[in-house]
């Protein structure tokens, strides 16, 4: 059996569904194809942040602003809050060296229009009375927000389907072939074939394998992030929290942060976010272990020990679940978004690593504009997948 469409989107995570949704709104007949069930991949095993503070000034920060606005209109369009919350965020600084690096980073971000500042111990205590005394300073941005990824994916899928988008699940793509008129034939596990002039590779961590089917180089490596979820507890502070460690290592690879060997090999850093369900999501690790998305005792223990270092009062709190997701990471920390040179009609929208939730609506919107051949946006040149074409 063959399904004909205008666009085939491969991957039904938050990015694929966003692409499908915005393409459908632009009048395209879209089929979204996914090998797994709803929220089976990284989109269902992550935190829910629209985080500004982690973004380097530049395209990622710029797109996050635009994404936040798009989330506003999406919530209005589907008449649902989608678990949106605006608690603000703090990045915890533990020593002088981190302070110097973060001060510089904050001033760069401010010059880019981000409302963020460095606050002292007294201010910290007001917002986070239970934080450990060893924190010497912190950043604070009231812009950091969050939104429930499951609610967003359901909204894209339901609203998109009401506009005519079709989603096919539990039926992986096994091959892509191009026929005489330039159309692509995408064959799937159960034998169904899909035909369209445009294919969008939104397969996240697995986008490299889809790229291979048409000879496109999509250098995405799975980075495993383990997260634990606490029982329902009262708020322990006003904001969500991160440690400066991860940002510092990202910004300055010459700086050695204070971690033991195990923690370093796991890429441990602190992320502490309150969910709409009154639990906390606490992470996380960043491990290169291939496509294994299991949780480990070592990872869970490291996250717990780290949490108690920052918030000793959580000692008697139970965690109820541990999850792990494979973040699609790219060599330069930026996503791939655009058409592959020499493979007309084949687009990739993948490689968001930890920014998939934050950047989903803007990714889908920009992708739809490219597919519809809107006038080019030169800011996006640096996201083109062709930067990796000759590697």
């Amino acid at each position: 059996m063959t399904h004909a469409a205008d666009v085939l989107v491969i991957g039904g995570g938050i990015i694929g569904l966003s692409c499908g949704f915005y393409l459908t709104k632009r009048g395209k007949r879209v089929c979204v194809l996914d090998s797994g069930g709803f929220a089976d991949g990284a989109s269902g095993a992550c935190d829910d942040m629209i985080l500004f503070q982690s973004k380097k000034p530049g395209i990622n920060l710029e797109l996050t602003f635009e994404s936040l606005e798009l989330y506003k209109s999406l919530r209005a369009e589907v008449d649902d809050n989608l678990g949106f919350a605006n608690l603000g965020g703090m990045v915890l600084i533990e020593n002088q060296q981190e302070l110097e690096i973060m001060e510089e980073f904050v001033s760069q971000q401010r010059s880019y229009g981000l409302d963020v500042e460095v606050i002292d111990k007294r201010e910290i205590h007001k917002k986070q009375p239970f934080l450990s005394d060893h924190i010497i300073a912190s950043t604070y941005s009231k812009m950091d927000s969050q939104i429930d990824p499951f609610a967003v994916m359901r909204a894209f899928e339901r609203k998109g389907s009401s506009y005519g988008m079709k989603v096919f699940r539990r039926n992986g793509v096994v091959g892509i072939e191009r026929i005489g008129n330039g159309d692509y034939l995408v064959s799937t596990q159960d034998g169904t074939v899909f035909q369209a002039p445009i294919v969008v590779n939104a397969a996240g961590t697995w986008a490299g394998q889809i790229g291979e089917m048409v000879g496109a180089n999509v250098p995405i490596t799975p980075k495993r992030g383990q997260i634990i979820i606490t029982e329902r507890v009262p708020p322990i502070g006003e904001t969500n929290l991160w440690s400066a460690k991860y940002l510092v290592t990202k910004l300055r690879n010459d700086v050695v942060v204070d971690l033991n060997e195990d923690e370093r090999s796991m890429g441990l850093s602190f992320a502490f976010t309150r969910s709409g369900g009154d639990t906390y999501l606490v992470g996380s690790t960043r491990e290169y272990v291939g496509f294994d998305k299991g949780t480990t005792i070592g990872g869970i223990r490291a996250i717990i020990n780290q949490t108690l270092k920052y918030l000793p009062r959580l000692r008697d709190v139970n965690f109820i679940r541990a999850i792990a997701g494979l973040r699609p990471s790219t060599p330069d920390g930026r996503m791939l978004l655009g058409e592959h040179a020499g493979i007309d009609g084949f687009f990739t929208a993948a490689g968001h690593e930890g920014d998939g939730i934050a950047l989903a609506p803007i990714t889908g919107t920009l992708l739809a504009a490219m597919v519809c051949r809107d006038p080019g946006d030169h800011r996006l040149d640096e996201l083109s997948p062709n930067r990796f074409a000759n590697l």
Partner: protein, 106 residues
Amino acid sequence: MQRILDHPILGPLPEEEKVTIYVDGEPVEARKGEMIAAALMATGKPYFRKTVKRHEPRSIFCGIGRCTDCVMTVNGTPNVRTCVTAVEEGMVIETQMGFGDWGGKR
């Protein structure tokens, strides 16, 4: 007082050392080693917490540490299962309203 002092099969309650715990600010005498829930039932306390959404009273349900219905704020930590947590001298126990709070202590 809901303590069984003379049980038809187990016989009379043996003597035990006493500790003082503070329940919603009031001192309460408890038997050393007993669970918080046992001490509170002995005082006739009608409920241990109120639920998050409907503010309904809750007390002992399973009594073996599984159901979490009897949780209270103990020494400033919310969600402590009182049926499996032993009393200690000077323990501060509060009726938990909804999620409770962190008691302002570090």
